[in-house]
């Protein structure tokens, strides 16, 4: 199956700019479907960004982050060829992970 986390990691001087798009419905639990049934809450709760296995950013999300979420972060000390990884865990306990190399 194709990657469900798309990451771009680009160097700008000493700063590595990471842009990640994630596939996730980010349901708040407040919506009803066409038939009037409540759509259960289903959203990413925790995200980490790592650089060569070192966590550089950690975050907690509520359901108010938009569907198919976007995350942009920046960190120092990255070099071309290093690995940047983004992982998430959602409220159902499911997890996903994606990685790229810094250009």
């Amino acid at each position: 199956m194709a990657g469900k986390i798309r990451i771009r990691a680009q160097l700008d001087g000493d700063t590595c700019e990471v842009k990640a798009l994630m596939r996730h419905p980010m349901e708040t639990g407040l919506r009803k479907d066409q038939a009037g049934n409540a759509i259960p809450a289903h959203y990413i709760e925790e995200v980490t960004v790592t650089h060569n296995d070192q966590v550089v950013m950690h975050s907690y999300w509520g359901a108010a982050v938009s569907a198919n979420p976007f995350l942009g972060v920046r960190f120092a000390g990255g070099q071309a060829g290093d690995t940047v990884r983004v992982t998430w865990r959602d409220n159902t306990g499911a997890t996903d992970e994606g990685e790229t190399t810094i250009r």
Binding site: M1, A2, G3, K4, T15, K19, T28, L30, E45, E46, T48, V49, T50, H51, D53, Q54, V55, V56, M57, H58, S59, Y60, W61, G62, A63, A64, V65, S66, A67, P69, F70, L71, G72, V73, R74, F75, A76, G77, G78, R85, T87, R89, A94, T95, D96, E97, G98, E99
Partner: protein, 158 residues
């Protein structure tokens, strides 16, 4: 952007169901000591409650550069960007995004760890026209910048 024809499903990248715990365990404990989810803050239903749960009402800081669109075409996806001028506001450890009139104003919390700049870009749901808040936490306390974003309902109304 072209895709090659004839590519099989097996040829594409793997969906990695990574084990989250492994990533957490690798990080030095002192950096993780304080990163528990502020559940009360996420559960609060208004700005006063959110600030109370964090323990402090932030003071305004010109060091927080908060970019939000003046007017959003749709409230489901509102792009925001938070940057910090470290000469004005040094030592930012955490950034929070809050949306005043959402059912739960707290949208996200970001903890800067090794080498991360006090910078984040994301997209949030904004239920209706209101103030958005970028809150920065340093050892000296909580600071904030706020901006109103107007939310429109476009076209034929659905």
């Amino acid at each position: 952007m072209k895709h090659e024809s004839g590519a099989g499903i097996a040829r594409r990248g793997l969906l990695r169901m990574g084990v989250f715990v492994a990533a957490v365990a690798a990080v030095p404990t002192k950096l993780w000591a304080a990163i528990t989810k502020p559940s009360a803050a996420f559960a609060a239903t208004d700005m006063d409650g959110t600030f109370a749960a964090l323990g402090q009402t932030p003071t305004e800081s010109a060091g927080i550069i908060f970019t939000t669109p003046d007017i959003a075409e749709n409230g489901a996806v509102v792009p925001i960007k938070i940057e910090v001028d470290e000469s004005l506001l040094p030592g930012v450890r955490r950034l929070y995004v809050m949306v005043e009139k959402n059912p739960n104003p707290m949208a996200a919390m970001f903890s800067m760890i090794e080498g991360a700049a006090p910078y984040v870009e994301t997209r949030v749901k904004v239920a209706q026209t209101c103030n958005l808040y970028a809150v920065a936490e340093t050892d000296s306390g909580f600071f904030m910048a706020s901006k109103e974003t107007k939310v429109t309902l476009g076209g034929c109304g659905g």
